[in-house]
Subunit: 330 residues, 2 copies
């Protein structure tokens, strides 16, 4: 018999499984978002650094599926018209992460989309509560791509307690380090209503990721990733100081480890090489955007099949761990 | 009706609850270890940096309770006779962390104690497997005190998979960031057989911790801790490069943040002040050794009461999350 996981998230979004795919810049296009939604979750298109024609294409690629979209908030602030473009597509949700929510929160809600706010600390969770987020996503530093230093395992229950005291109607998702159904099961035990999964969907067929990068991630373990800033410097991106990016260690990260000042000074010399390496799929000379969970997955499946697998694994983990409860004790 | 959690760990150790208290240097004395064992877990005395008379006192304080002891392995290598001292007390287990296992593994097993090895990466887990550890403890960087950068949430399932392939009789504990029963429940879902808990027992009455430090931890949230090396430099301790220590942010950490080279140069000027601050319980001028889980606990209970509470919370979390499983799905 097939089974589902019913939580406050599945109820609120009217979906089958408490799984949202992360709006990974570049990698999360309309095909991935649509596949996740079609399989019973909610897929989010990655708004990234803002390319209007790319965004339009991705909504076309998503077809009639109900999807959402996520933005890098500090970048959106420089091109606020992109929010209008997205809201015109009637997204189920708009997710904001990495920046001031105030300029956008009301507009998103007024357009009828749910406001998802990703946070990396209790302090940022309080800001999301002040902006009346519908869903707060607690992202730990084990995540691939941009994030900060708190770990998912402590951040989720700490924010769950704060929400229980102050905003019990606000839902909570766990993000960062969740690469299979065991992670989903763990997140539910920590007090989350569901999960936002990035790296594992990055490693699916529908993701817009070069085959060389997928191959590099499958060879790697969790020990092989690192948080760093060199990828942002090489691209000339003004990321706020508190956020770094987790990628695979490779020739690029080894070259500029602890040499960020040098890279900043000599950027004119490296910017084109970095851009070229990204386009050509060179997995040694450009960033490979996957997190610590790369050590627990070993294939590149269809996103829909992956959804079913994660749910099945979570049901198994929840069933097995609950069976450890026995009568007795002092 | 009281309930227990039965796992491979409770079976192997013949204990009631799958909870081991961490052998925190200085803080985990015989009274704490004995209280944890008396309440149905296994308590470990902190061997620390090696003071023979202190260790003898702690085994006296543990009385007739069956306890174990843990060592900082690189420090033990400088005073190997301390292992003989501990083995003479017939400990249930000896835990090694932070160093080469080879000189000690056989001796521990030959003395009839279980060999617990704490690891901070998959690479170190493989070394522990090679040393034929009975129990491997996967410690994430959210832990208080010394550790490294991998997160518990990804490290545990990655090592669980490796053990399933290579050493299925070896047990696995999760450590780092587990501050209540939700964390224990999450760990079981990730594939662990139990947990090793540090910070939460540091915040118990039996821990050898100054009241000022307890008060500072209760005021703090998880955002307020930081990984750093200044505490080791100030004490003149030669910790290997790959390990840092998580403590509360305070005047001391702010003063030497990113100024470790300066502290090393001027150590003669700071060493006595640091030592004096530690002795006097100054929570601003010395390290307060607690991890990210400080944000989810709010009292200093008896360790035995705490054990019961953690088990009750874990049973609740496991029961509630398993109830989210419902029939259905495509």
């Amino acid at each position: 018999m097939r089974q589902m996981l019913k939580t406050r998230l599945t109820e609120k979004l009217n979906i089958s499984h408490p799984i949202v795919s992360a709006p990974m810049a570049m990698a999360a296009g309309g095909a991935l978002a649509a596949a996740v939604s079609a399989a019973g979750g909610l897929g989010l298109i990655g708004g990234g650094y803002g390319d209007a024609s790319w965004l339009e294409q991705q909504f076309v690629a998503a077809g009639n599926q109900r999807v959402g979209c996520g933005f890098i908030t500090w970048s959106l602030a420089r091109q606020p018209h992109l929010l209008d473009l997205v809201l015109a597509h009637k997204p189920a949700a708009v997710m904001l992460s990495f920046g001031d929510l105030a300029p956008f929160a009301d507009k998103i809600r007024d357009a009828g989309a749910l406001l998802f706010c990703q946070v990396q600390s209790l302090a940022l969770a309080r800001a999301a509560m002040a902006a009346q987020a519908d869903v707060i996503i607690a992202q730990g530093g084990e995540a691939g791509g941009h994030g900060a230093s708190r770990a998912t395992l402590t951040l989720v229950p700490e924010i769950a307690d704060e929400l229980a005291r102050q905003a019990s109607q606000t839902l909570l998702l766990a993000a960062g380090g969740i690469g299979d159904g065991r992670g989903l099961a763990a997140a539910l035990n920590l007090g989350a209503d569901g999960v936002l999964i990035g790296s594992r969907f990055w490693a699916s067929r529908e993701a817009l990721v070069h085959a060389n990068h997928h191959a590099a991630a499958l060879r790697a373990g969790g020990d092989d990733t690192i948080r760093q800033r060199a990828t942002d410097i090489a691209r000339g991106l003004d990321w706020p100081e508190e956020f770094t990016a987790r990628i695979l260690q490779n020739q690029f990260t080894r070259r500029f480890a602890n040499k960020e000042a040098q890279l900043r000074e000599e950027i004119s010399q490296y910017a084109k090489a970095y851009a070229d390496a990204t386009i050509s799929g060179d997995a040694e000379a450009a960033g490979v955007w996957v997190g610590e969970s790369t050590g627990i997955f070993h294939d590149i499946p269809d996103a829909g099949d992956l959804m079913q697998r994660i749910v099945r694994e979570a049901v198994d983990a929840l069933t097995k761990s609950a069976a450890s409860i026995v009568p007795g004790g002092a």
